[in-house]
Amino acid sequence: MAEPAPHLLVVDDDREIRDLLARFLEKHGFRVTAARDGRELRRLWPGSRFALAVLDLMLPGEDGLSLLRFIREEGRTPVVMLTAMGEETDRIVGLELGADDYVAKPFNPRELLARIRAVLRRVEAAAGQAEPRAATFRFAGWTLETARRRLVSPAGVEVPLTGGEYELLAVLAERAGRVLTREMLMDLLHGRAAGPFDRAIDVAVSRVRRKLDDDGKNPTLIKTVRGGGYVLAAEVERS
C-alpha cells in the first residue's frame, strides 16, 4: 500500500449511517470525508479532489439528483448512488445523469465496498479516455441500455440477462473490436485473477452467445480469439 489511500466523500443525512460508513470505509483502507447535505457538499467540494463520492439520493434540502448534476458539471469524479429500494425511476435518472453505479438501501456494506472498488478500478483502467457513464450501445440490430441494464433484440423484444451476463456484454461492448483475454475480463468483472482452470468467463460467454442467437460453433458477434480471449466483432454505435 505505497499509494496514498483514495479520498472518498460520503453524503448521507443520517448522522449514524454517515459516521458508521466512514469508519467502515476507513477500516478498509480509504480516507473518508462525510457531508450531511448539499450545502456541506458544495462547501467541501472546491478544496478537495475526491476519488469518488457516495451519494444518498434522499437528502433534505437540495436532492441527490441535483447534487449529481452539480458533481458532473464540476468534472468526472465517479459517483456511487444510495437509492431507495423500489425507486426505479430515481435510479435510472441517476444513471442517465452520469452516476457510475448504485446500491439500494438498506445496502450491504460489503457490496457497497465492492462496488466502490469496481468503479475505482474501472476509472483507473479507462484512465480518463472512456466515458463510463450510462450509454446505449447498438450492434447488429441489438440494443444494450446500460441505464436500465437491458438488452433489446433486433425485433424489439427484451431479452433478459443475468447480472453476470449483462456485465460481460457491457464490458465487451464498451471495448468493441478490442481483444480481451480471460484474465482481463476476470479482472474487469470480478476484480480478481483467473485461475488456470477457471471456466466462469467461458460459461458466461456461451450463455450470452445463446441469448444473442450467436452460433457457439461459428460465432459472428462474440468471437473467440486463439490464445484465450474474446472480442465483440460487430460494429458498435454508442449514444
Binding site: 449511517i17 438501501k105 438498506p106 427484451e158
Partner: protein, 440 residues
C-alpha cells in the same frame, strides 16, 4: 323448466311476448266476430232486397212465365226461387218465432203497398242456416224462396295472418329492445363489480339513467371509493413501515461490520438479511410496483433461462433445468414478471432443492409455465391459503428457509396483473407443481 330462461332479460322478454301475443289473438278474435255479424247483416239486406224485387217481378208477370222468371232471377248467393202450386216452407219446419231471425223477418215482410202484399206468408227453416219463405200470390200459387246464407269465414281474410305476423314481429322487436335497455344497467353493474375485483381504481360507473339505476350506481361507487381508500391506507401504512425500517437496518448492518466475533457477526448479518427480505417483500406487495412498470415485448424463454442460470450460479451446481423453445415472446412487464417467476423457482429450490421449469404454448391464447419439484409438497387444504399474504406453512420450517410469506401472493398478484393466473398443486407420487399462465 328448461325453456324458462335464466336471465332477467330473457324472462321479461318471454313474459312480454307470450302476454302480448295472447292479447293480440283475443283482440283479433273479437274483431273477427264483429265482422261475422256485419257480414250476416249485409247478406240479409241483400237477400231481402233481391227477394222483394223478385216478388214484384213475379206479381207483374204473366202467370205462365212466373216459374221461369223466378228460376232465372238474379238472386244473391245461396238463394233459390221457384213458383210452385204448394208452399215449400213447411217442409223445413215452420218457424215458431220467425221474427228471431233477421233474414226470416225481412222476407216475411216483403210486400209494399197493400195491393201488392202476399195473400199468405209461411216461413220455415233453421235460423242462420236456412230460411224458406213461401209467399202466396193473389191467384193461388206460391213463390218459394230458399236462402242458405254462406258460412261467414272471418279467418280467411288474406291480411289476417300477415297482420298477426307483422304485429307479433313488431312486438317482439320492441320488447327485445326495451328489455335489453332496462337490464343493461344490471349488466354494467356486474361488469363494474368484476373490474373492481381486479383493480380497486377501475373507472367508476356513470351515475345516470333512470332513478333506480342512478341510485344503484351511486351506491356502488361509494362502496368502491371506500374499498379503494381502505386499500390505499393499508398500502401507505405498509410502505411507511417498510421505508422507515430501511435506516435502522442500514445502521445495524454497518454496526455489525465492527463486531469482532466472526460467528456473531455472521448471525447478525443473516438476521438483517431476513429482515431486509421481509421489508422488500412488504414494500413490493404494498406498492404493487408491477402496475407502474410499462408493458413491453419480452422473450419469456430467455427470461426463464436467466432465472435458472442465476439460481444455478447461487447454488454452485445445476439445480434448475429449463425445458423451453428457443424463443417465446409475450407482452409483459419484464422486471415484475421476472420477480414472480423467480419467486416460484426460489421456493422450489428452497423446499425441494431443485426443479424443472417447462414453458409451453401458446395454446388457446395462453402460454403456461410449470415449475415442478420433487419436494415434500403441501397439504391439500393449503393450496389456496398459501396465496394469502404472510401465510406460512409450518412456521419452523419456513423460518429456516427464510420465507417471508409474501413470495406466492406477490407472484399471483403480478401474474393476475398480466391477465394470467397462478395455481399450485401436489404431484404424484411426490412434489409440487406451480402452474403460471400468461396471455400469449
Amino acid at each position: 323448466m328448461t325453456l324458462w330462461p335464466r336471465s332477467i332479460a330473457g324472462r321479461t322478454f318471454l313474459v312480454l311476448l307470450v302476454g302480448l301475443f295472447a292479447v293480440q289473438v283475443i283482440a283479433l278474435t273479437i274483431h273477427a266476430l264483429d265482422r261475422v255479424e256485419m257480414q250476416r247483416a249485409q247478406q240479409a239486406r241483400e237477400a231481402i232486397g233481391r227477394a222483394a224485387a223478385l216478388w214484384r217481378a213475379v206479381l207483374m208477370a204473366d202467370p205462365g212465365r212466373r216459374d221461369a222468371i223466378a228460376r232465372g232471377f238474379d238472386l244473391a248467393e245461396g238463394m233459390v226461387a221457384s213458383v210452385d202450386p204448394r208452399p215449400l216452407a213447411p217442409d223445413h219446419g215452420l218457424l215458431a218465432e220467425p221474427m228471431g231471425d233477421r233474414l226470416a223477418q225481412g222476407l216475411a215482410r216483403i210486400g209494399g203497398p197493400p195491393h201488392m202484399r202476399p195473400r199468405e206468408v209461411l216461413v220455415g227453416g233453421e235460423p242462420r242456416r236456412l230460411v224458406t219463405v213461401s209467399l202466396r200470390l193473389p191467384d193461388g200459387p206460391w213463390l218459394n224462396i230458399t236462402a242458405r246464407p254462406p258460412t261467414p269465414r272471418p279467418w280467411s281474410s288474406p291480411g289476417f295472418l300477415a297482420a298477426l305476423a307483422l304485429m307479433t314481429a313488431a312486438v317482439a322487436g320492441l320488447s327485445f329492445w326495451a328489455v335489453r335497455r332496462t337490464t343493461r344497467p344490471i349488466r354494467d353493474l356486474a361488469a363494474a363489480a368484476e373490474r373492481l375485483g381486479r383493480d380497486v381504481n377501475a373507472p367508476r360507473l356513470p351515475e345516470t339513467g333512470p332513478a333506480e339505476v342512478a341510485q344503484a350506481a351511486a351506491a356502488f361507487n361509494t362502496m368502491a371509493d371506500r374499498i379503494s381508500r381502505f386499500v390505499a391506507d393499508r398500502t401507505t401504512m405498509l410502505a411507511a413501515i417498510g421505508h422507515d425500517l430501511r435506516t435502522p437496518i442500514t445502521r445495524l448492518r454497518l454496526r455489525a461490520e465492527f463486531v469482532e466475533d466472526e460467528a456473531t457477526r455472521a448471525k447478525i448479518l443473516a438476521d438483517l438479511d431476513e429482515m431486509e427480505r421481509m421489508v422488500a417483500g412488504t414494500l413490493a406487495f404494498a406498492r404493487d410496483e408491477a402496475a407502474a412498470e410499462p408493458m413491453g415485448r419480452v422473450d419469456l424463454a430467455a427470461l426463464l433461462r436467466t432465472i435458472a442460470d442465476e439460481a444455478n450460479d447461487v447454488a454452485g451446481e445445476e439445480v434448475v433445468s429449463v425445458v423451453a423453445p428457443d424463443h417465446l415472446v409475450v407482452e409483459a412487464r419484464p422486471v415484475a414478471l421476472k420477480r414472480a417467476l423467480a419467486n416460484l423457482v426460489g421456493n422450489a429450490v428452497a423446499y425441494a432443492g431443485g426443479c424443472v421449469v417447462r414453458l409451453s404454448g401458446p395454446d388457446r391464447g395462453l402460454v403456461s409455465i410449470t415449475v415442478e419439484d420433487e419436494g415434500p409438497g403441501i397439504p391439500e387444504a393449503e393450496s389456496e391459503r398459501v396465496f394469502q399474504p404472510f401465510h406460512r406453512l409450518e412456521p419452523s420450517r419456513s423460518r429456516e428457509t427464510g420465507g417471508t410469506g409474501l413470495g406466492l401472493p406477490i407472484a399471483r398478484t403480478i401474474l393476475r396483473g398480466h391477465g394470467g393466473d397462478l395455481a399450485i398443486r401436489n404431484r404424484s407420487p411426490k412434489g409440487l407443481v406451480a402452474t403460471a399462465t400468461l396471455p400469449a
